[in-house]
């Protein structure tokens, strides 16, 4: 089943064309990397999928449906910033997620938070950046969604936390869901990716299976990326 389909998808902000006629199809059971330099349109694509933006042209569907409150229930979105109400603590956040998302696994989330010894009564605003990032990740990955959209999940994160995040993604693998990881830090994540999408100036430069790409180029995805995007 295709979880994400883009047909001739374009998005402009005023005169700036951020995405240009994107054609894309993502299958379930895959972990896909959306790779490109800053400003290449990665976040725009993710926001179009989660309906934080509407297309200028073309079409985008999630599990066959146009973006709406229905598709939002199928998508678990981790933005690249602090998005939780900072006066809430972990306990309250668990309750809120459980309240709004039918597919939220409160037991799993609690287990993960306890494993990290996170103080359930501490409000977000008092947490260190690393802890806060982990809480956001745990909440996102504790849903049983069809499409996970992770926008730069490891940027600005220490190596140990990076391992934790990648482990969580692997451990959470669901053969009926797609995980789309948008990042410009490729060498850290490439061993986890089934497929790589190179997004260059708002267009899809390539979309290939990772090992096939390695076989064809004889390079790591990171190496090949640097070649393609050389300034």
């Amino acid at each position: 089943m295709e979880t994400l389909v883009c047909e001739g998808l374009s998005k402009s902000y005023g005169s700036k064309l951020a995405l240009n006629r994107i054609d894309l199809r993502l299958e379930e059971g895959r972990i896909v990397g959306l790779l490109g330099p800053n400003g290449s349109g990665k976040t725009t694509l993710i926001k179009l999928a989660s309906r934080l933006l509407v297309p200028s042209e073309g079409r985008i569907t999630i599990c066959g449906e146009e973006p709406s409150e229905i598709t939002k229930a199928l998508i678990s979105y981790l933005p690249d910033r602090n998005f939780l109400p900072d006066w809430m603590n972990s306990e309250e956040l668990l309750q809120m997620y459980g309240d709004f998302f039918g597919d939220f696994d409160e037991v799993k989330a609690l287990e993960m938070l306890n494993n990290l010894n996170i103080d359930m009564k501490m409000p977000i605003k008092k947490m260190s950046k690393g802890t806060r990032d982990k809480v956001q990740l745990i909440l996102t990955m504790s849903r049983h969604a069809k499409l996970y959209l992770l926008d730069e999940p490891i940027a600005g994160v220490d190596p140990a936390s990076r391992d934790y995040i990648l482990n969580t993604i692997i451990n959470n693998y669901d053969e009926e869901a797609t995980v789309l990881i948008s990042t410009h830090l490729i060498s850290d994540v490439e061993s986890v990716l089934d497929e790589a999408i190179f997004l260059k100036e708002g267009e899809i430069f390539l979309h290939k299976n990772s090992d096939e790409l390695r076989e064809e180029t004889g390079k790591s995805i990171d190496e090949y990326f640097r070649e393609v995007f050389r300034c």
Partner: protein, 121 residues
């Protein structure tokens, strides 16, 4: 999470080689159960589909047998182990020859060096 695999070669191939070596060295014996896909994926920080592909390839070669309910088991005998050993050795020797040829050694020079090296050990 240690990086055991290089990323410029298909990871599933490296995984297959690693598993074959484990079988040849006796780490995995006949009828041993292979770890579940997810466990191996977590251990090496790789995609579960990659592990799946490696396992499927080993199944295709007859080295691994999968029982639907209980998992995957090593399916080898002495003959298969020897075949595997031979296959792996040939691969390493090919690599050795390729590299030494690259720095300008002839086949004869390579063989001499190998003998000398073995004697001094």
């Amino acid at each position: 999470m240690p990086r055991v695999f290089s990323e410029n070669v298909p990871i599933y191939l490296q995984l297959i080689e690693m598993l074959k070596v484990s079988i040849v060295t006796g780490e995995y014996k006949a009828d041993d159960k292979l770890p579940p896909v997810r466990e191996l994926a977590l251990r090496y920080g790789v995609n579960p589909n990659t592990v799946q592909r490696a396992y499927s390839e080993l199944e295709r070669e007859g080295i691994v047998q999968s029982e639907r309910t209980s998992g995957r088991y090593i399916n080898i005998d002495a003959q298969k182990i020897n075949e595997l050993k031979k296959g792996i050795s040939e691969e390493y020797i090919r690599e050795l020859f390729e590299r030494l040829r690259q720095i300008g050694l002839s086949g004869k020079e390579i063989k001499n060096l190998v003998n000398k090296w073995e004697e001094n050990k």
